[in-house]
């Protein structure tokens, strides 16, 4: 139906956006194993000017440790905090809780929050949370995951990631990693952890936080050029435990969209469950700006064309985090489909 009224100013993927999230509400997902210090980090963030107007979603109020004095009415599902923030618990269904928040915001019955911060339970795998935002039918039209932040304690972080697959998954899928409680850990432990984290997730930015204090920009900033640089820092395939691999594919010449999309459809159809996350910035033939693509398991986010490239680099780059799918297999698949399309 949209084809009836095309705009010559629009690109292949619709209106060109100034940024990947477009006009959607930014979402930050804070993961971390039990006792990692997620709550302290979140509380500090909410008290900063950048944290104003944040809606926090948590599993349980008790877990968040929100001061009872701040609760307007503990029987309500949504409670107002200071600084224009609000807090909402989701015992079972995150999607329902988010939908209610968006509707209440629209109706003006809660503050018009400008950011959502989801604090996951310690044992949560972030992948299902990410899929919640992947399609318009879910909440992808209203909300956009800007960053996944994993919090890990300096003292016992190494042990945690060795022992628990969930903790490893949190680290591997993170865009940014915060090493917490450095004030109560010795320097050697923190260094060892940093090395291990870089091994697990070389593309993420890692930072240490004392007493949960962190530059709020680390939580509030959109994916930046710095994140992009980290994307490219990973030159070769890295194989982690549990068969999880991460690798980056780059391409110097503009990509034809159709073969790329068909190849990704094939990959999703055959191995979607093992495609943990893929995110890229593509130079698509015929597009003025870069096209942002993102895949989480069986779901492909709608592609977004940006109005302009962030820098002079025009290479296509896409990072894959997979389980038992290697770089060569993906590269060969893309090349094979491209070859067929040409034929």
């Amino acid at each position: 139906m949209q084809e009836l009224f095309p705009s010559p100013a629009a690109g292949r993927f619709g209106r060109r956006q100034k940024r990947e999230r477009g006009a959607r509400i930014p979402v930050t997902v804070v993961t971390g194993f039990l006792g990692a210090g997620k709550t302290t980090l979140v509380k500090h963030f909410l008290a900063t000017p950048e944290g104003a107007g944040t809606a926090v979603l948590i599993n349980e109020f008790g877990e968040a440790g929100i001061d009872d004095a701040l609760l307007r009415d503990s029987t309500e599902k949504t409670v107002l905090l200071g600084n224009g923030c609000l807090c909402c618990n989701f015992r079972s269904d995150l999607q329902v809780a988010l939908h209610r928040l968006v509707v209440d915001r629209e109706r003006g019955v809660i503050p018009h929050f400008g950011r959502v911060l989801i604090e996951t339970s310690g044992l949560a795998d972030p992948s299902p949370i990410l899929t919640t935002f992947a399609t318009d039918r879910a909440l992808g039209g209203e909300l956009f995951v800007e960053a996944v932040i994993a919090v890990i304690a300096a003292a016992d972080g190494v042990k945690t990631v060795e022992k628990f697959a969930e903790a490893r998954r949190q680290v591997m899928l993170a865009d940014r990693i915060v090493i917490s409680k450095t004030d109560i850990a010795d320097e050697e432990a923190a260094d060892t952890l940093t090395t291990r984290l870089r091994d697990l997730n070389p593309r993420a930015r890692v930072i240490a936080a004392d007493y949960g204090r962190l530059d709020p920009a680390w939580i509030a900033d959109a994916a930046s050029a710095r994140d992009g640089a980290a994307f490219l820092a990973e030159a070769a395939e890295v194989e982690h435990t549990d068969g999880v691999k991460s690798f980056t594919l780059t391409e110097d010449t503009p990509l034809a969209w159709e073969p790329f999309a068909r190849a990704m459809e094939t990959l999703i159809a055959l191995r979607g469950a093992d495609l943990l996350r893929a995110k890229g910035l593509l130079n698509v033939a015929g597009c003025r700006g870069p096209v942002v693509v993102q895949f989480v398991q069986h779901i492909a986010h709608p592609p977004v064309e940006l109005a302009a490239w962030p820098d002079a680099d025009r290479k296509s780059r896409i990072v894959f985090i997979t389980r038992d799918i290697g770089e060569r297999e993906v590269r060969d698949l893309l090349a094979a489909v491209r070859g067929l399309a040409k034929a």
């Binding site: 095309p6 705009s7 100013a9 006009a23 224009g84 629209e106 018009h112 400008g114 039209g141």
Partner: protein, 462 residues
């Protein structure tokens, strides 16, 4: 057609009201002197402040807009629906604003640095019963509409100014549109430097109903010192002597606003078309290839069952779409819903409504004070200093604030940004009443309050 507005003097008010127009002799003295002299006195005190970036709370919203400046315009912050940008010969960027009502006529603000707006001139109306609700500018010539509170009052018409020296606007001519049954000019469109299209009464026009006094008139202003009417059109049945019967009135008194013209937009893409809002008659697309004989090509009217007051018709030429706005004119959402509509214009003779821009729930706004609902939108004015988009619609919704919609999918407009500032100080309705919006080619957004809030300057962050 060359008579000028009467001199501002209480003693002259009654005398002037008895006449059909102001006296040229008095006006010649008054117009050039009044404007430059008034400016320095009223422009000295300008309250400029930049509020916090995030206005939290259900009443105040700053979402995907960034407020960069607010100016209450020297205490005269009740603004109308005339906004135009000029780049002066010395390179300064000047924003010209029409006032909603007396005592002020128009205000010019230097917005070269949009973070530091500076009032450079503010002029007075000669009569308290006048309002200069509308203005437009081409090059260094500005046209200003003059309307009176009641029929028969003077001066009523439009005035052309030379604003090549922005601090010293000089009157070029005043065109009288007053009459026993006329309130003068409510709105005008002047974008090609040649013709002024307007919603105006006339001395020779006797409507069948007193509210139907303003119709579509076209003036040739290629000689700006001597504007000449070249064409006119009114809805059949609204003038005494018409063959057609008078149109049935909308529900009285609240919704009976008149079968009369409002916006008269003409664009260079189709200089042979006028996109005409006609208040309680809906909207018309007019064939003006022969300006002496404008002809309606089609009409679309949503009321009843809606509540009338069609205001603006914005064509998106390359998409075959029309954006049509209602105006909310009753307080407390008594005339809800007032909407921004998208029409399929693939067949110019059969416009079809396909969607509306979603408004926030009425129960969240109806009791905030003042009006709630659609009014003006950014009109893609044909000027090099105006931003143009056929994918984004930005409109003012009175206490619903400023809202931007992505209409890439014409069937599903989606709100992408909103700005609802707190009630301005001394607002008689206790709420913001954003009245008009203009976006310059730098993507700087200017929006104005109807009562006291003056000018808000924003960046689009979406």
């Amino acid at each position: 057609m060359s008579k000028r507005p009467a001199k501002k003097a209480k003693a002259s008010a009654k005398k002037a009201a008895r006449k059909s127009a102001g006296k040229p002799k008095a006006a010649k003295k008054a117009a050039p002197k009044r404007t430059p002299k008034a400016a320095p006195k009223t422009a000295t005190k300008t309250a400029t402040k930049t509020p916090a970036p995030h206005l939290a709370g259900p009443s105040n919203v700053t979402w995907n807009f960034k407020l960069i400046a607010h100016d209450t315009l020297a205490g005269f912050g009740g603004m109308g629906e005339g906004m135009a940008v000029q780049v002066a010969k010395d390179g300064r960027r000047i924003l010209w604003l029409a006032h909603e009502s007396a005592p002020k006529n128009f205000t010019a603000i230097d917005v070269s640095d949009p973070r530091k707006p500076k009032v450079i001139v503010q002029t007075d109306l000669p009569q308290g019963h006048m309002r200069s609700n509308s203005l437009e500018l081409t090059g260094d010539i500005m046209a200003v509409a003059y309307q009176t509170q009641k029929t028969g009052q003077v001066p009523a018409g439009f005035e052309l100014f030379d604003v090549s020296n922005p601090e010293n606007p000089k009157s070029i001519s005043f065109t009288d549109c007053s009459g026993a049954h006329s309130r003068g000019v409510h709105q005008l469109w002047f974008c090609d430097g040649e013709y002024v299209h307007m919603a105006a009464g006339a001395p020779d026009f006797k409507p069948t109903h007193e509210l139907d006094d303003q119709f579509y008139r076209i003036f040739d202003v290629r000689n700006p010192s001597k504007p000449t009417e070249v064409g006119r059109w009114w809805m059949p049945g609204t003038r005494e002597g018409d063959n057609a019967p008078p149109p049935p009135r909308h529900q009285k008194p609240a919704l009976d606003k008149g079968f009369r013209a409002h916006n008269t937009n003409v664009y260079p893409e189709r200089p042979d078309r006028c996109y005409l809002g006609y208040i309680d008659a809906g909207m018309y697309v007019m064939d003006i290839s022969d300006k002496a004989h404008p002809k309606p090509l089609c009409r679309w009217d949503n009321s009843p069952p809606y509540t009338g007051f069609t205001h603006t018709v914005l064509p998106l030429f390359e998409r075959n779409l029309l954006v049509v706005t209602d105006e909310s004119t009753n307080n407390n959402a008594a005339d809800w819903p007032k909407l921004v509509w998208l029409l399929d214009l693939r067949d110019e003779k059969h416009p079809v409504p396909i969607s509306t821009c979603p408004l926030p729930p009425v129960d969240a706004f109806s009791s905030r004070g003042g009006r709630f609902g659609a009014h003006n939108i950014h009109e893609n004015t044909p000027s090099p200093y105006c931003w143009h988009s056929d994918q984004i619609v930005v409109g003012t919704f009175f206490n619903g604030g400023l809202r931007a919609y992505d209409i890439s999918n014409a069937y599903q407009p989606k709100e992408v940004a909103a700005f609802v500032p707190p009630a301005p100080a001394l607002s008689p309705v206790g709420a913001i009443q954003l009245n008009d919006v203009f976006i310059d080619e730098r993507e700087i957004v200017y929006t104005v309050d109807r009562f006291t809030g003056g000018l808000y300057i924003l960046e689009m962050d979406f």
